[in-house]
């Protein structure tokens, strides 16, 4: 495309298997008074990435 660059597609996973609850509670990290949640990593994706890189 000449006028647009797509940076991220469908970043919010709404599929049924989500919501495992294994990720970190957002207020436990570095805020304690706010609720920024979008910067929390998804635990299952993190584990999958780690396993994938370990298998290389």
């Amino acid at each position: 495309m000449k006028h647009i660059r797509v940076i991220a597609r469908a970043a919010i996973d709404r599929s049924e298997h989500t919501g495992c609850g294994e990720c970190q509670a957002s207020c436990q990290s570095a805020c304690k008074t706010s609720c920024t949640v979008a910067n929390q990593p998804c635990e299952s994706k993190r584990v999958n990435r780690k396993e994938a890189s370990g298998n290389k």
Partner: protein, 460 residues
């Protein structure tokens, strides 16, 4: 719904339901504004040729057909409380050696008596967490206070007890600790670096800013000691998580200088939060400060992007600008937010359970105690249903999947309702989110921004 914004010299479009992000040239940005109901773009659009416009329109239509932008609204699937507790804030002490002027916890006492949590109470809290965590494997315990390092022996023994028990339950507990960094030595730094998956050290920034707010009980400023200890801690921390975290107030509206100062001191992971105080406080922030504070976040985003580009991304992380545009949390997590009152609770030194540390001492929010367990009084259901899908002010907000509707305690403390977010905090959150998306988008595309589309499509 899409949200269009300009940041760091580039134009961005966020598709709210899907989280897709695109960057565009000026021509396409104007066309998107028009489609988003902003007729003011028409005049400038007339300076572009019909051929150019048709080309850009075709690209927009293609992405709409693919569901990348203007994607359909989908009903949210809220996960209500299921009786599981997986994260706990353990207030191991209600005492502090500092008397910070903005402290929400009454100098550590939380409006009650000063005192410490016994090891028996801490063990009962761990027992309750392990027994209440259902099928969740990853659990969290944050040592908090007051100043938790004043009860360091209990911290150490609680960690040892939990480590001895977690395996039998098939769990892994991540420990974190929040400290004012004034009560540390080599031994405690070694322990924290070994056992804590994250440590938050409170320093507000420039020495005069910090010392104005964060003083020892005797009145002396705590900056020199906190900085010295925090640097020792940082040097020994390696690549494990930590954050130096500050609070800004009406006294340092130029807080960007404090964040940059902390980075200049040698701290690569920094966070800073707006103070949340009653309007009568001389240090309170409010809507009248929002323009100035937004400008500070923009200044920070520019300098942040510059520093990370020049020195390396690992040299500077600002908590609220860290965003993984393609691998962030799922929808249910974004709706749930911090999970306070449901899967996340706080425990006071006497074993009382509350929705989070900010509700400790408020009898109307008591949820039971760690010896007798959670009391079925509807609080988990009330808190877990309090999402962006249920709050009138949030339903149509473009930032709703990035802030989860804000902090319920802040809403309750300032507006008297759990579901009434604080206006100035919403405004700041929106600006922070734009900054985070812009920085992440530019970094994800190796700096490719609006200027790179070429002069023809960007003429003003």
């Amino acid at each position: 719904m899409v949200h269009l914004f300009e940041m760091l010299g580039s134009f961005f479009c966020l598709d709210v339901p899907s989280g897709s992000v695109i960057t565009t040239d000026r021509l396409t940005y104007l066309l998107l504004m028009l489609r988003n109901g902003v007729p003011g773009a028409l005049g400038e659009l007339s300076t572009f040729s019909g051929e150019e416009r048709a080309e850009a329109e075709a690209e927009i239509d293609g992405l709409i057909a693919e569901g990348v932008i203007f994607s359909p609204e989908i009903p949210d699937s809220v996960r209500l409380a299921d009786g599981v507790v997986k994260a706990m804030c353990l207030n191991v002490t209600h005492d502090c050696n500092l008397r910070c002027k903005y402290c929400f916890a009454d100098g550590g006492a939380y409006g009650g008596k000063r005192g410490s949590m016994s090891l028996d109470t801490a063990k009962a809290a761990i027992d309750m967490l392990l027994a209440s965590s259902g099928t969740r494997r990853n659990l969290e315990v944050d040592f908090f206070g007051g100043e938790p390092m004043l009860n360091f022996e209990t911290v150490k023994q609680t960690v040892a007890y939990a480590r001895a028990c977690e395996g039998a339950f098939g769990k892994r507990i991540r420990f974190t600790l929040t400290t004012n960094a004034t009560v540390m030595d080599e031994g405690s730094i070694d322990f924290l670096n070994r056992e804590m998956s994250n440590v938050v050290l409170s320093i507000d920034g420039r020495s005069e800013v910090h010392d104005s707010m964060r003083r020892f009980a005797g009145g002396r400023g705590s900056f020199a000691r906190a900085k010295e200890n925090a640097l020792k801690f940082r040097a020994a921390r390696g690549d494990k998580d930590y954050y130096v975290r500050g609070t800004y107030t009406a006294e340092n509206l130029d807080f960007c200088s404090d964040v940059l100062f902390l980075n200049d001191c040698g701290f690569d992971k920094v966070s800073i939060e707006p103070a949340v105080l009653p309007a009568a406080s001389p240090y309170a922030l409010g809507m009248s400060n929002v323009d100035k504070l937004k400008g500070e976040y923009l200044r920070l985003a520019e300098e942040y992007y510059k520093r990370r580009s020049a020195l390396g991304r690992d040299k500077f992380s600002f908590f609220h600008f860290m965003m993984d545009l393609s691998g962030g949390p799922c929808e249910k997590k974004r709706l749930l937010g911090c999970g306070a009152g449901a899967e996340y609770v706080a425990v006071s030194p006497d074993g009382g359970i509350f929705p989070c540390h900010q509700f400790i001492g408020r009898a109307e929010f008591g949820m039971g105690n760690v010896f007798d367990g959670l009391r079925p009084n509807g609080i988990p259901e009330r808190f877990s249903a309090n999402t962006v899908s249920s709050k009138d002010g949030c339903k149509k907000c473009w930032a709703k999947y990035y802030c989860s509707g804000g902090c319920a305690a802040n809403a309750y403390n300032l507006n008297g309702r759990l579901d009434a977010p604080v206006d100035y905090l919403c405004e700041l959150q929106k600006t922070r989110t734009e900054c985070a998306i812009a920085v992440a988008a530019l970094e994800a595309s190796d700096g490719f921004g609006t200027a790179d589309f070429g002069a023809a499509a960007n003429k003003a």
